[in-house]
């Protein structure tokens, strides 16, 4: 195989299929030394899948991955790492109980000292039953290395010292040297991210893959990280590929960006090109959003001034609320203020060193549909979980139906009328559709009424009735989401918490689900909806809150927010 000089990582028309789902299709990418490329896309677009294919966690269904001139697909992750590909993880995966320096030492593996050299191995491989001979010789090599460690041979001690020196040098580069004896899990979040990068670099990679390195960082930490990534690339002459949701960061450092949506590559180009690409905006904000903004652009004359001031945003200048859209069909502003169902004040949620939600206050009134929107990692799901009692908030208070429920467990809240359809649906995959529904009514004792409600759910989603005896795991993603929603309704909730009902679903199915959601809301159930798809959620919502890094950046009536510049800022990282 001829290799263009300098190409260190190449993905050639890579596709991967999980069952019926084409998670990644025809993905191509090239990283050379000194490259700094980005990979972006909305939730569920296949970005991490792409990383997993490149690093050997998954084997591609078709296509090839080439690392440093060697075919890498089909190899194991540790073999691919040795070829020169190192990665970090989206949800930090440090060796938590080990010290900082040990984390790096694990990655700076010593050279092996084979008694049987590669030549001998190859010769053994040619003998009859060669694979076994070869494996036996390789095993001998491995055990020989263990013997050296057990006997503390001088050579081994020298290597250990070298590893320690190398690791300490790496930690100095990353500014973590003073923390080298601390346990990894005790580091603050930003330093944990840096340690993960240090660990990846210790494997002496040619290409570094960073999976959302800035997730959960504050603005200053992000700015530092941008500088650091550039520095590392130059210092170690790396090729770097970054997955990131923080658009500001990606747009700021990456030279070329690949945009994925539903596993397909929808755009490749410089940050400015990608930001202008209508397909990209559509993928992030929904097509109707683009329409609304176009219409608005045509009518608003003052936007010309903005356009000239910010040429890179010329296609989508900031704009004010559009009167036609703000006339929401279910606008209840004229009526007296309905009673408060849910009220959260200064809610704070922390996971160890990470603060995901930094003081959020929101209210849901009777009959309202409230949307909580924002990019990935903004703290939406954490807010929902803190409200429904799945996690304990670190600060603030939650009131439900007039009672203080701060820190109350989920099983206490369900009988009081709170239902939570979690992200990823959380249905019981090995039970039938009907059994799933019945479990939604677990706390109820009125058999006849339960039957009636089940029929109502089947009425809302006729497909579920057809599949009532089917095991839920065999349903499609859309059907599973319908089931999750129905199951939540079986409890006859006063308040329904919905987490990303549109995640990973085809547009028609999303429409169906949102139609039903609208009906359910109209029947008097208050809804708190978390969504990535800003347009969809806001066009339906009475009130919307926009979250960014754990804080509410703007709030207001849904349709008004729809055209607010804050939204574009939160999603596309414009400033």
């Amino acid at each position: 195989m001829t290799e263009t000089t300098g190409v260190r990582l190449r993905a050639d028309h890579v596709s991967i299929r999980f069952g019926g789902l084409l998670a990644l299709s025809d993905f191509s990418l090239e990283i050379r030394g000194g490259d700094l490329k980005g990979l972006i896309g909305p939730n569920g677009a296949g970005k991490t899948t792409a990383f997993n294919v490149l690093t050997g966690v998954y084997r591609p269904t078709s296509g090839a991955v080439v690392v440093a001139g060697m075919r890498a697909d089909g190899k194991k992750p540790h073999q691919i790492n040795r070829l020169g590909l190192a990665r970090t993880f989206q949800n930090i995966r440090l060796f938590k109980e080990l010290s900082v320096i040990d984390n790096v030492k694990v990655a700076s593996l010593s050279d092996t000292h084979p008694i049987f050299k590669p030549k001998a191995l190859a010769r053994a491989g040619r003998l009859p039953g060669g694979d076994y001979w070869r494996a036996a010789l390789e095993a001998s090599n491995n055990y020989y290395d263990w013997w050296r460690a057990l006997l503390l041979s001088p050579g081994y001690l020298r290597e250990e010292r070298e590893i320690t020196e190398r690791s300490e040098a790496m930690l100095s580069v990353m500014g973590l040297w003073h923390r080298r004896h601390e346990v990894a899990k005790s580091l603050p979040y930003g330093e944990q991210r840096r340690l993960e990068i240090a660990r990846a670099l210790a494997t002496k990679p040619k290409v570094l893959l960073l999976d959302e390195p800035a997730a959960g960082m504050n603005t200053k930490e992000k700015a530092d990280l941008m500088v650091l990534i550039r520095e590392l690339r130059d210092r170690f002459s790396l090729g770097v590929l970054v997955i990131e949701h923080d658009m500001k960061l990606v747009m700021g450092i990456c030279e070329v960006i690949t945009v994925l949506d539903h596993g397909e590559t929808i755009a490749v180009g410089t940050p400015a090109e990608v930001r202008r690409d209508p397909k990209v905006i559509e993928a992030y904000l929904g097509d109707a959003f683009v329409e609304a903004q176009k219409a608005s652009t045509a009518k608003s004359a003052p936007s010309e001034a903005m356009t000239s001031a910010h040429p890179e945003m010329s296609a989508h200048p900031e704009m004010s609320a559009h009167p036609e859209i703000s006339a929401h069909p279910e606008d209840r502003s004229a009526r007296p203020v309905p009673e408060l169902i849910l009220e959260a004040k200064d809610l704070v949620v922390s996971y160890g060193a990470v603060t995901a939600v930094r003081g959020i206050s929101l209210a849901v009134r009777k009959g309202q549909l409230v949307a909580l929107i924002g990019g990935n990692g903004a703290g939406k799901t954490s807010t929902l979980r803190a409200i429904s009692g799945m996690i304990k908030p670190a600060g603030g208070s939650v009131r439900f139906l007039g009672e203080d429920i701060t820190g109350a467990k989920a099983h206490v809240l369900v009988p009081r009328g709170m239902a939570h359809a979690p992200e990823g649906r959380g249905i019981f995959l090995n039970l039938t559709v009907e059994e799933n529904l019945m479990l939604g009514a677990y706390l109820r004792r009125d058999a006849a009424e339960i039957e009636h409600d089940a029929e109502r759910c089947y009425g809302l989603f006729p497909i579920l009735k057809q599949r009532r005896r089917q095991v839920a795991g065999t349903l499609s993603g859309g059907e599973q989401q319908m089931l999750a929603l129905s199951r939540a309704l079986m409890n006859r909730p006063r308040l329904l918490l919905l987490d990303e009902p549109s995640l990973g679903l085809a547009p028609q199915i999303v429409d169906t689900i949102f139609e039903v959601l609208k009906d359910v809301n109209a029947s008097g159930v208050s809804v708190l909806l978390v969504e990535q798809n800003a347009h969809l959620a806001l066009s339906l919502a009475h009130v919307g809150y926009v979250l960014e890094t754990g804080q509410i950046v703007t709030e207001g009536p849904g349709p008004t927010l729809l055209t607010s510049p804050e939204i574009r800022k939160a999603y596309l990282g414009e400033s």
């Binding site: 690093t55 540790h78 593996l109 010593s110 263990w146 503390l152 041979s153 001690l157 660990r199």
Partner: protein
Amino acid sequence: MSREWIKGPLPVLVVLPILSVLTYATTDMPFFIYLASITGVNVILAVSLNIVNGITGQFSIGHAGFMAVGAYAAGYFSRALAGVQLVFLPEVVSDQVIFLVAVVFGGMLAALFGFLVGLPSLRLRGDYLAIVTLGFGEIIRVFLQNTEALGRALGLRGIPQRSSLLAVWMAAFLTILVARRIVSSSHGRSLLAIREDEVAAEAMGVDTTGYKVRAFVVSSFFAGVAGALFAHFVPIINPSSFTFVKSMEIVVMIVAGGLGSTTGAVLTAIILTLLPEQLRTVLTSGAEGTDLAQRVDQLRMPIYGATLVALMLLRPQGLFGTRELWDLWPRSQPKASDP
């Protein structure tokens, strides 16, 4: 620098004379020797299982099976060579050489079984190892129970009694030394990394399957050694010594000591071996031979159980957690200054 080679054998050179003196001093205390030998065997079992369950983070519950392989292999070997005397060597030395070969043979055979059991089951993540080792332990026991040549349920008798306090505790010391040196080497760090996060370890270039199998083989080897020693100081070995209960006993030891802590495993192995014996002495003192003594004696196991339950409630991470004995003393460590 030039004297670095001494670091390897140094601990052995220190401990060997101490154990020799101890062995010589206690020659006429058969009950003490028996109790100390049982304790030493349990220390070997606990420390070796800890390499897999504590350090590598896998879960094996068939350690008694590997012990049985070592016991029967070494016992059979010694019995077959019972009358043989190696030329040029006096009888005592010859016996000890054959004994040593038997012990190593028992360990090697157990290691081979460890390789065969570990290779298929350690490729997979999760609980497969537990299921497979559980099955393996039972298969070995049933096999021994039904094999004429190995004495069926009556067991293997007539194995020469060649073990000594020195042999058992030297083996125990070597096991501890190996476990500690593995942990502090780059190989040990790879094992710890697998325990902490297998996916990340793999991504950092650690051959996770290979390392898990190697840890399992080392662990099985020492289980076999423990069995081989055991076979040479008990009058009879039979399948009922190597049941699932025995495996669980070892698991309990390392869980109570703190998974991953070698000194914890040593300490709890000693305590949990001697505790039932000590309780017998304490509970029945002053009332020997009476009806009361018998009734009190029945309380022994409930107290043993209650102690474990209390320990798990009060210290779910075990006595030491993943730390070692010496970590409990405050050490002068460079204090981290703020950046």
